[in-house]
């Protein structure tokens, strides 16, 4: 049932061209060069070191690899990462 609802929601979003991050609770990821990364609608940090930051998102996680990574700001919904980003991996659950 839940999967059916999700499928219907996805169909609605694509047909009506609605914002997927708001309707489907997906994260919005904004990157500036390879030095700044902003994740909106995250679900928390799983791992944080200066070379790897793993963030929980709806449907899985994303791992950011790089050097001198700093969490410039984090609150309930937004997370901003700065440093030298070399790699971003997206993984599902």
């Amino acid at each position: 049932m839940e999967r059916g609802l999700k499928k219907a929601a996805k169909k609605l979003v694509s047909t009506m061209e609605l914002p997927a991050d708001a309707i489907l609770d997906l994260p919005r990821i904004t990157m500036i060069g390879n030095t700044e990364l902003m994740v909106e609608n995250h679900k928390g940090i799983e791992k944080y070191t200066s070379t790897e930051v793993r963030i929980r998102i709806t449907g899985g996680h994303m791992a950011i690899h790089g050097r001198r990574l700093i969490v410039r700001f984090i609150d309930k919904d937004d997370l901003k990462l700065e440093g030298v980003i070399t790699n971003i991996d997206m993984g599902d659950q």
Binding site: I45, Y48, I70, V71, F73, I74, K76, L79
Partner: protein
């Protein structure tokens, strides 16, 4: 930026998170709606971050069940700054007074720059400005720039344009003088008399002479005309040139009294001081206790570089004097009056060595007990002056 500014205004602390489950604590902090920023992993079990004071106070319940310790390693923001400053009220008051003083001093002119004059010296312009109250230390609110520009144009007819402006504490006066036509560029003109006289010699280089030896001329009369007739009898215009010498007379007078008053010092002295700040003068000490005195003043005014500061200390030395009247012989008074008449002539440009003849008259001043000497001198010199026809 606004978030950072707001955080500084409300105050924040730099915290150290030490333990194993740091990510979990960070998630709890973020999930509670408490923003944390500049979060950095220092070692495997230490993180440093910043959080507002208000939110820090709410961290304790979030630590339950986690093997993490939180400590403050730094404080920043307006509340801490205000607490520090409140312990140094004197500094704050001093800074406020200094700021007020700078603000007040910025309302005065401290430098005056005059540029552009060649025939008219900057000193002449500066003197005129000083007479109107525009000098170093004058308040900007009392300076009317339009009025000064018009005044300079009226007072110096040689000027064609004047610009006055105030930039900060600097007043800039820029002048442009009229460009008079160069003699060599002028095509037409006559030679005229610069003053009244009796012609003694006419030497025309170019043009038609209109006067002869023995003519009496007034100032402005044409002596050599620029008009001439060419070989075909046609009238032509040209530029006259020549030398015209004439006998001219100058007169002056001088006066002298038959007695003079001399001040003799009695040996008694009194000293007092005054402090001047801008236009205000504060006198220190008693005034001179003498009925008659001669005074001397020595002023000390500090400078910074070439700029005089607007306050000065003056030392006044008063010497008691006794006035005595002594008589002067008539011959001595006559000589003194005659010398004063010569000085008056010298001030109007007469060279005593060039004088050919003099005539002296005397007149006794009965009511003032003195003598007036009138002096008329005769010279001979070139009175030719070129007057362009524009």
């Amino acid at each position: 930026m606004i978030t950072r500014l707001w955080a500084w205004l409300v105050g924040y602390v730099v915290i150290k998170l030490k333990g194993a489950q740091l990510e979990a604590l960070v998630n709890r902090i973020a999930g509670g709606g408490y923003g944390i920023w500049d979060l950095e992993r220092v070692t495997a079990n230490i993180m440093i971050g910043k959080i507002r004071i208000k939110h820090f106070k709410k961290l304790r319940p979030l630590l339950s069940g986690l093997n993490v310790r939180v400590g403050i390693v730094g404080r920043a923001g307006l509340p801490f700054f205000a607490a520090k400053v409140s312990r140094r009220k004197g500094l704050v008051v001093g800074l406020a007074l200094l700021a007020a003083l700078f603000y007040h001093l910025a309302g005065f002119v401290w430098m005056i720059e005059i540029a552009g004059g060649e025939q008219i010296s900057a000193a002449a312009i500066s003197d005129l400005l000083a007479r109107e109250g525009v000098r170093v230390g004058a308040p900007k609110s009392q300076i009317d720039l339009n009025y000064l520009e018009n005044l300079l144009l009226i007072s110096f007819p040689e000027l064609s344009w004047v610009g006055a402006r105030i930039k900060g504490v600097l007043m800039q006066i820029e002048v442009t003088e009229r460009a008079s036509p160069h003699r060599a560029e002028v095509q037409y003109g006559d030679v005229v008399a610069a003053q009244n006289g009796l012609i003694t010699q006419v030497v025309p280089f170019r043009g038609t002479p209109l006067v002869t030896v023995g003519s009496t001329v007034k100032k402005g009369d044409i002596l050599i005309s620029g008009e001439y007739y060419d070989q075909y009898g046609r009238r032509q215009q040209g530029s006259a040139e020549g030398i015209v010498r004439a006998r001219v007379w100058y007169d002056a007078f001088g006066e002298a009294a038959f007695s003079k008053i001399t001040a003799i010092e009695t040996g008694n002295y009194h000293t007092s001081y005054s402090v001047a700040i801008g236009k205000w003068v504060l006198r220190l000490g008693r005034p001179a206790p003498f009925a008659n005195h001669a005074s001397e003043a020595h002023t000390w005014q500090p400078r910074i570089g070439g700029l005089k500061l607007p306050f000065a200390v003056t030392k006044h030395i008063y010497a008691e004097v006794d006035y005595r009247t002594t008589s002067i012989a008539v011959d001595q008074a006559r000589a003194l009056a005659l010398e004063r008449a010569w000085q008056q002539l010298a001030a109007s440009g007469v060279d005593r060595d060039q004088v050919k003849d003099t005539q002296v008259t005397e007149h006794y001043l009965m009511d003032q007990d003195g003598i007036r000497v009138g002096l008329i001198v005769e010279l001979e010199h070139d009175i030719a002056e070129f007057a362009p026809r524009l």
